[in-house]
């Protein structure tokens, strides 16, 4: 494990993403850094760039977390949520 990898893994080093939202906090989605197929699926559920996302409850231990988006609630794991970048 090099130092470089360690830095990349921490949430604060990269751009703000869904995992930076605290419970009840909202943010505007900027983009989804995932393959087209995965991004499309998330967009169909309401994770569209320019839309607001609110962090709701979470599973015990904080992962996965529930997000309110476009009138519904969707749970995502941390590993997925880090790829949804906020403005």
């Amino acid at each position: 494990m090099s130092m470089q990898m360690h830095v990349n893994k921490t949430a604060h080093a990269g751009p703000r993403n869904l995992t930076s939202l605290k419970k009840g906090e909202s943010g505007i989605l900027e983009r989804i850094d995932m393959s087209d197929v995965d991004a499309q699926r998330l967009m169909e559920l309401g994770f569209l760039p320019g839309h607001s996302v609110t962090r709701a409850h979470a599973a015990p231990g904080g992962d996965p977390r529930v997000f309110r988006v476009d009138g519904s609630e969707v749970a995502l794991r941390r590993e997925t949520a880090v790829h949804l970048i906020l403005r």
Binding site: L42, L45, H57, P60, G61, P64, A75, R77, E79
Partner: protein, 632 residues
Amino acid sequence: MDDCHGPSVATLPPPGTSGKQHIVAIVGPPNSGKSTLFNRLTGLRQKVANFPGVTVEHRMGRAKLGHLREIFVVDLPGVYSLQPRTEDERVTHDVLAGTMKGLPKPDAVMLILDSTNLSRHLSLAAPILSLGLPTLVILNMADDLHGRGGEVDAKELAKQLNTPVVLISASKGTGVEKVFEFLNGAPQHLPPKPPLLQLPVLQNVPQVRDWAANMSRRTNFRAPAPPLWTRRLDGIFLHPVVGPLIFLLVVIGVFQTIFAGARPMMDAVAAAIQTSGKWIQGTMPDTALRSLIVDGVWSGVGSVIVFLPQILLLFLFIGVLEDSGYLARAALIADRTMARIGLQGKSFIPLLSAYACAVPAIMATRTIENKRDRIATILIAPFMTCSARLPVYTLVIAAFIPEKPLLGLFFGTRAAALLGLYVLGFLAAIITARLLKSTVLKSTRAPFILEMPPYRWPTVTSLVLRLIDRARVFLRRAGTVILAVAIVLWVLANLPLHNGKPPAIGESIAGMIGHAVEPAIRPLGFNWKIGIGLITSLAAREVIVGTLGTIYGIEGTTQSMGLQAALRHDLTPGGAAALLVFFAFAMQCMSTVAVVRRETAGWRWPIIQFAYMTVFAYVFAFLANRIVSLWF
């Protein structure tokens, strides 16, 4: 242990006198109330079917219209779009385009949308209306919409979309008569004119979503207030401390009810079967036919029907959990634990159902989008202790383990042995899952996405329909496969005739088969009679109980003994332990093999699974026999 016959291939019954059969398809996003509406329209006149060549399931039913007329309704999988990315989407697209084999192009479409989430759900209207089929747009959950202060102008939406729109509540039944009106006129409906707001040319997600937003704005849609009750309940069910406790209570409650609560009902069924068997014995003359009916059919089929109450209770629970919305919360809570063995939250419920029966459990894996996770779940599901193993466990434990209290009055040696067998199956599942997920089924990084539907009261209609469906499937299996096995076994056990009399069981055809396999199973401590049981139980595990009942009933030395005493006479303690372990691990169930073949669309996985489980079972049964024989 039900659903023996996988759903049949989609076929329409021969056309009636009216000529062409008319078909109307129901399409909608997940959680829009498609199934509730389908149940309302078709009631009990429905069946589950599969399209040839794909693993996607659909339900087909007949909606009764007035004047002896009927119309076929097809319930398609829930989709958000018709982009053929997943199998569900491809099937829905192909059916609506009329290119699906085995199903003519539908005459009309019913597009069902959740009115409380109209802006987003309207997105599906764009690709559906582009198809040019006569379409009825159904805005469901009207009660919920109004209850939370939302509003939608159905007339205006109809004008804007240029197609009829109705506002209904499928669960309460309000407005359903308007759907019937549409069905009544289905053959004459004309293709819709294009909507006033031009459909997006490029149907990508952002453009379609913009179109839907504009459309709902034009119809003065007022979104309802957030579902307060759902948020309050989530505050409890997803509470960091209370949530997991409730989760555990639910799981324990399900188990307790299935095992303890079902007991009186099972006893009642068993008593009824016994009494009726005796009655037949008393009324019929002593002929071979009587022997066939009483010794073959009644004891064989009867020993299986006893499990009906248990199966129904389990499906009642799953139905309540699913319809109320708690199932999604359970998946959320279970996700992290399941992730440790390489699976995910959505595998939890199928695996929990596998404790009743692997067949519906394997069918329930359809909710797992990730193919590799799904196959891994399918492959480990049969290790979960299904209720078909219970009669075998109960019989052998009662015969060999004396009841002694371990923890007061509530937990004795027999319960401990039973629990131990459950743990054994669970451990085998975990080991196998780890093995699979770290080798052949290593996951691609497909995201785990779980929608959290609002909490709703389950409706009695939906629960009752589900239970009737389960009971029908289970009884059909008891009336076909198990009946056939019972009859074939009785015939094999009574042939060839010696001087016009049935032979001793050891000299019958069944006995010869048993003797033939004996060398292979002797290391496990089994004799030829158990061998016959192992072969017949390939059809279904619980069949071994009926088989042994038949064999011991026919054989002279054990005829007067009860089944338990006969087993003690026949098996060493080591052999009994081996028998338990063998049944814990072996895939002795043709229905499971059949459903795995169907769900994985080929023979590869079921063959691998069957071979793996049989070898696993043989090795550990051998060890169990050796180890136990050291002490007893």
